[in-house]
């Protein structure tokens, strides 16, 4: 018995599921539009989208999980940038080189995340899988791991009064 369940092929995936899977990456657009000053809003939007769509099939769920997981580090990095920037602004401290370096790093990571998300959205719309580094493997494992049923009899739950 294989460790993972069978992966659906593009022709088996209805357009509706493909669009729902694509939507999980498109949340990033909403995040850019609405959540820039409050990076955690992105994660909230993605979480809501995840809970609404997670029962719509494994293909959708895989993309939801991958999108959600990949957003966590980006959100954390952006949040730190915002908090750091605001604290510098409030304390009227001159912008340090460390902060500039951090911003550049955050920018590069955001661009990388943006590109990965766009590619993943296109592939999801085609009914294909696209694996992000690290997160792709985790998401696949989470969704497609074969779960063995535990038929261990634990006795009746309801009992007469003692």
């Amino acid at each position: 018995m294989s460790e993972y369940q069978l992966i659906p092929q593009p022709e088996e995936i209805p357009i509706r599921e493909r669009e729902d899977a694509m939507g999980s990456y498109m949340m990033m657009f909403a995040a850019v539009g609405a959540g820039l000053p409050f990076p955690f809003l992105n994660l909230v939007a993605s979480l809501i989208y995840y809970y609404i769509n997670k029962a719509k099939g494994q293909f959708v769920k895989f993309h939801l999980v991958q999108s959600l997981l990949s957003q966590i580090p980006v959100t954390l990095i952006n949040s730190v940038a915002v908090v750091w920037g605001v604290s510098l602004f409030i304390s009227s401290t001159p912008v340090s080189s460390a902060f500039k370096g951090y911003l550049v790093m955050a920018l590069i990571l955001n661009i990388a995340y943006f590109i990965f998300s766009i590619v993943a959205a296109i592939r999801a719309r085609r009914g294909e899988f696209y694996y992000f580094p690290v997160f792709g493997r985790i998401a696949f494992h989470q969704v497609f791991k074969e779960v063995e049923s535990e038929d261990v009899y634990v006795g009746p739950i309801n009992q007469p009064p003692a």
């Binding site: 669009e19 694509m22 939507g23 498109m26 609405a34 719509k56």
Partner: protein, 229 residues
């Protein structure tokens, strides 16, 4: 395929409910519904933003997102129908709920025009919001005045005058069509009219070019069964 929007005029309206709504409606109807609708509205905005990109790249409004928007529209309309005294009863909570006498169906467009999408995004304010907004604003004033008259009519007679009902529902229908167009859910430019789409033998008669209904007779248009749309 055209959207269906109809609020039935009841034979008899409850005076008790009318008074209850007038004095306490904001507590037991507006407050809970507005709170939830406000939150769902934020979500709707996010989905519209995503739908924009989806239409731009694929020419399709993601079907499940469209369904959500339709359900939300239906909820907002049944909420408006009750709070504006066009329909009795308590508007049901929930996206899949229905309200007796309120019929809203938005056919799913298989394909949407990318060109029109860009046009809406760039110039929608000029060619939709300004012209429709001005007329709708004037019509809303008339609607509010008629609602006051209708309030007294219902209080004393238990009946909502047919012409006033038609006009007020028409105002909501007009606003509904504009919102559908601007929410990217249809490519059909909203007509400058509140009249319902007229159907005959299963075919739509585009009656909008025949004149406005700002002061016209109430239409006795045939309302199709939503299942047929």
């Amino acid at each position: 395929m055209y959207p269906l929007f109809e609020i039935d005029r009841q034979v008899e309206y409850s005076r008790g409910e009318l008074l209850l709504r007038t004095f306490f409606g904001w507590i037991y109807i507006v407050l809970p519904h507005a709170f939830i609708l406000g939150l769902l509205g934020i979500w709707s905005g996010i989905l519209t933003f995503i739908a924009f990109w989806s239409i731009l790249f694929t020419g399709r409004y993601p079907e499940s997102m469209f369904e959500f928007q339709e359900q939300l529209q239906r909820w907002q309309i049944r909420f408006n129908a009750v709070t504006l005294n066009l329909s009795d009863g308590y508007p049901a909570f929930g996206l899949t709920a229905q309200h007796e006498g309120v019929h809203v169906e938005i056919p799913y467009p298989e394909n949407l025009s990318r060109g029109e999408l860009i046009l809406k995004a760039l110039f929608g304010f000029i060619y939709v919001i300004i012209p429709h907004g001005i007329i709708l604003y004037l019509r809303l004033i008339a609607t509010m005045i008629l609602m006051i008259f209708a309030w007294f009519a219902v209080l004393f007679t238990g009946k909502y005058p047919a012409g006033m009902h038609e006009f007020n529902v028409g105002t909501l229908r007009w606003a509904f069509r504009v919102s559908l167009y601007m929410a990217l859910m249809t490519d059909r430019y909203p007509p400058f009219s509140g009249r319902p789409d007229e159907w005959e033998g299963g075919e739509l008669i585009d009656s909008y070019d025949e004149g406005d209904d700002l002061g016209g007779e109430p239409s006795d248009a045939f309302v199709p069964d939503p299942k047929d749309l």
